[in-house]
């Protein structure tokens, strides 16, 4: 079985969370990835160079570990990852999940995993995307009564964690929109438009969007993919690309760049240039259907709710 997850080709994931696996618990830093559905961590079975640079799960040190015996391959853009499936107690914050299926890596490509600041990946997409036949982490939480509903959200705090934490994550109304395919968190974008288009060397949201905007393009909202907004090729044709497919803009021009407004279910969600321009913008153009990936820059502006129970997503001003 395979799962195509080329996220590592983007190499732009910044936010990781701690989990533990086993009894006594062994700690790992994982990427909470809305673009995949499996949980895996490096293991002591792995002799690859990449595993030597990360925390590895030792099944013989856990009294609650059970072997599944099945091996799966996850194909990434930069190479394939082989995992052995097993079951053990997984703890996420205060949530304890018993007999959770997860992957113990056996072979990891050194490039780029050796350089990752995280150990493994915790997938938060739909179960249909997972290899193996056992429940995903979120499904297990539900089945074991840890959650009352399968819903989670991402909030980027402006404050230092633990200080001045705002209990109110959003303001205004929540815009709800249905998930258009229950694999990834894919929703439809009605339109995109900009209020100003004076950008120099960066014409991503210029007048082309008016004609392309009603073709029913889809978007995918993901955390694991990194902090960028991915635009279809037809919308990025005028951008200035560096040899590494990075689209370059003069930082002095940010003030004259457009606000991109995503219209979802009739509600405009504007994204100002200060949100989508970073010091090192990486914006390759996909050649397939017009898909946008709304990454962390969007999530920083909009508190985003992933409601698997009702197959919908919600957005509100963060």
């Amino acid at each position: 079985a395979v799962a195509y997850e080329p996220f590592t080709n983007y190499l732009n994931s910044y936010y990781f969370g701690e989990i533990s696996i086993g009894t006594p618990p062994q700690n790992f830093l994982v990427l909470f990835d809305t673009g995949s559905s499996n949980l895996w961590v490096p293991s002591t079975y792995c002799k690859s160079q990449a595993c030597s640079n990360h925390n590895t799960f030792n099944p013989s040190m856990s009294s609650t570990y059970q072997n599944n015996g099945q091996t799966y391959t996850l194909y990434y853009g930069s190479g394939s990852l082989t995992v052995l499936l097993g079951y053990d107690t997984v703890t996420v914050q205060n949530i304890v999940i018993h007999n959770q299926e997860f992957g113990l890596s056996e072979i990891e490509p050194s490039n780029p995993f050796y350089y990752a600041n995280f150990d493994g990946i915790l997938g938060m997409a739909y179960p249909n995307l997972a290899v193996g036949n056992s429940p995903t982490v979120m499904e297990s939480m539900m089945q074991q009564g840890q959650l009352t509903s399968p819903i989670f959200s991402f909030y980027f705090s402006r404050a230092h964690p633990g200080r001045n934490m705002n209990s109110q994550f959003y303001s205004g109304e929540i815009v709800w929109t249905p998930v258009t395919r229950e694999l990834y968190w894919q929703v439809a974008i009605d339109d995109t438009w900009s209020v100003l288009c004076l950008g120099i060397g960066f014409c991503l949201p210029c007048s082309q969007t008016a004609s392309a905007g009603r073709s029913g393009r889809k978007s995918h909202r993901g955390r694991g993919l990194g902090p960028f907004v991915w635009a279809p090729r037809l919308l990025a044709r005028s951008s200035s690309a560096s040899p590494l497919s990075q689209f370059v803009v003069n930082c002095n021009s940010i003030q004259s760049m457009p606000t991109i407004t995503f219209v979802i279910r009739g509600s405009p969600l504007p994204l100002p240039p200060s949100a989508y321009v970073l010091n090192a913008t990486y914006l390759p153009s996909p050649s397939g259907q017009p898909l946008w990936t709304l990454g962390d820059v969007f999530l920083k502006e909009y508190y985003t709710i992933y409601d698997m129970g009702n197959n919908r997503m919600g957005f509100a001003l963060s």
Binding site: Y10, F16, E18, S78, P161, R181, K218, P286
Partner: protein, 43 residues
């Protein structure tokens, strides 16, 4: 409500760039269409 605090770390790109291996890596690995995973012919 369970709150899971995420830590901001360095991206793989940052680390590879710091260690001077990013350019070589990107040149030697074929580009993958980021939208390929959403083309559902392989479902």
């Amino acid at each position: 409500l369970y709150r899971i605090i995420l830590k901001k770390g360095k991206s793989i790109r940052q680390v590879m760039e710091e260690q001077g291996v990013l350019q070589t890596f990107l040149k030697n690995h074929p580009k993958v269409d980021p939208g390929a995973k959403y083309l559902f012919n392989n479902d």
